[in-house]
């Protein structure tokens, strides 16, 4: 928890790089994301992360 090592920072930078190219995060609840996925025939990719 407390130990924010550079390896974690590297992974975080990597995630940022992966999603960096204009990725628009869904704004809404998870239930709303599922509804959109059903409507558009898409899968949902859930990105779990911590700020701390």
């Amino acid at each position: 928890m407390k130990k924010k090592f550079l390896s974690f920072a590297s992974i975080l930078l990597l995630i940022t790089a992966v999603f960096a190219n204009g990725t628009e995060w869904f704004k809404g609840s998870f239930d709303e994301a599922k509804a959109k996925a059903a409507k558009e025939g898409k899968l949902i990719i859930i990105h779990f992360f911590s700020n701390g």
């Binding site: 928890m1 924010k4 990597l14 998870f30």
Partner: protein
Amino acid sequence: MENFIPFRAAEGSEDYGMLRSKYEIRGLPKEAIVDKTGKIVDKIGSFDSPDDFFERVKKSLKGTDTLAGLQEEYEKNPENLFNALKLAIKYNNIYKRDNAVELLDNVLKKPDEIKSIFVPYGTENEKVNGYEYAKFLHARVTFRNRGSKIPEFGEFIKEFPNSRFYEEAYVTLANFYKNYQEDEDRAEEFINSAIKKFPDNNRLPDYFVDFSIRTGRNLKKAEEITKGWIKKNPENIYAYRYAASVYLKMGKDEKAFEVFGENFCKKYIYSKPDDGDKASLLNTYAWYWAPQGKNLKSAEKASKKSLEIRPDAHAYWDTLSMIYWKMKNYDKAIETEEKALELNPNQNAYKNQIEAIKKDKEKNN
């Protein structure tokens, strides 16, 4: 990414706790791919590059080796050892270790059958013997890097001296021995043998230094190793931190402060622009000294600066609380730990720390 809806589950957000529990997410950051009903399609563990990540995502779209697909295949035919082993590999990759162990135990009950199977490993055309891989994987998922019991890797390196996994098994065992307390002579001998066998392996010097700091053995050599790290990469905070630990073990506190103290901060951290990376480095520095109760004024300064940049980081408030606690400034310690708790209300460690500080305050007043 156009075939996906990207959904961010940040710690503390509304859906976070429910989703993390539902999809059994351990370790962050992590990705889960689900369909429109919320059913899991795949989980993505650690990966080496954005290319690896997108390869994994593409495979998930095709349904290739996804968690759901492999589980379905296994349920249809649990006697198929090839499928069982692939599912075990998947479980290992997404940290479902108990599930992986259970499958591997079953696979290894039929050694003659699994020895005749080859599974993909590494590049597209590479394969590895199923028995060898199952043994290696079983050793890996059951590995604990501390304790009194020698890990299965000890048996693996004897049984498979020519295995492609030999080096990894040997080096992982060295990782265990750096913490091994039952027989320090044996631990030292093994770590030295690993360094001799694999002189280019860059994890082994870390283990040597860790062992040295813990036991007080070979501190001069550990000092030389850390000096080499600093010379090779003068901006690597961890090299300086390791060097400080070696000096503290030698009883040379002043040298530790010299190499990883206020002057280090001025030269390598304070001069950086105020961003998340700088805040992280400042917190790493402060957190190193805080539990030791040394160099606290410098640690306090760094910690406060980290919070100036990142006032939302609960872990950084926790660091500052520890510093105040060590300074015996109990009221401020409680106040800052309460701030950490306010930002992360589910963190029991913060609650426990507040209670511990209160008890300490009572005892000392």
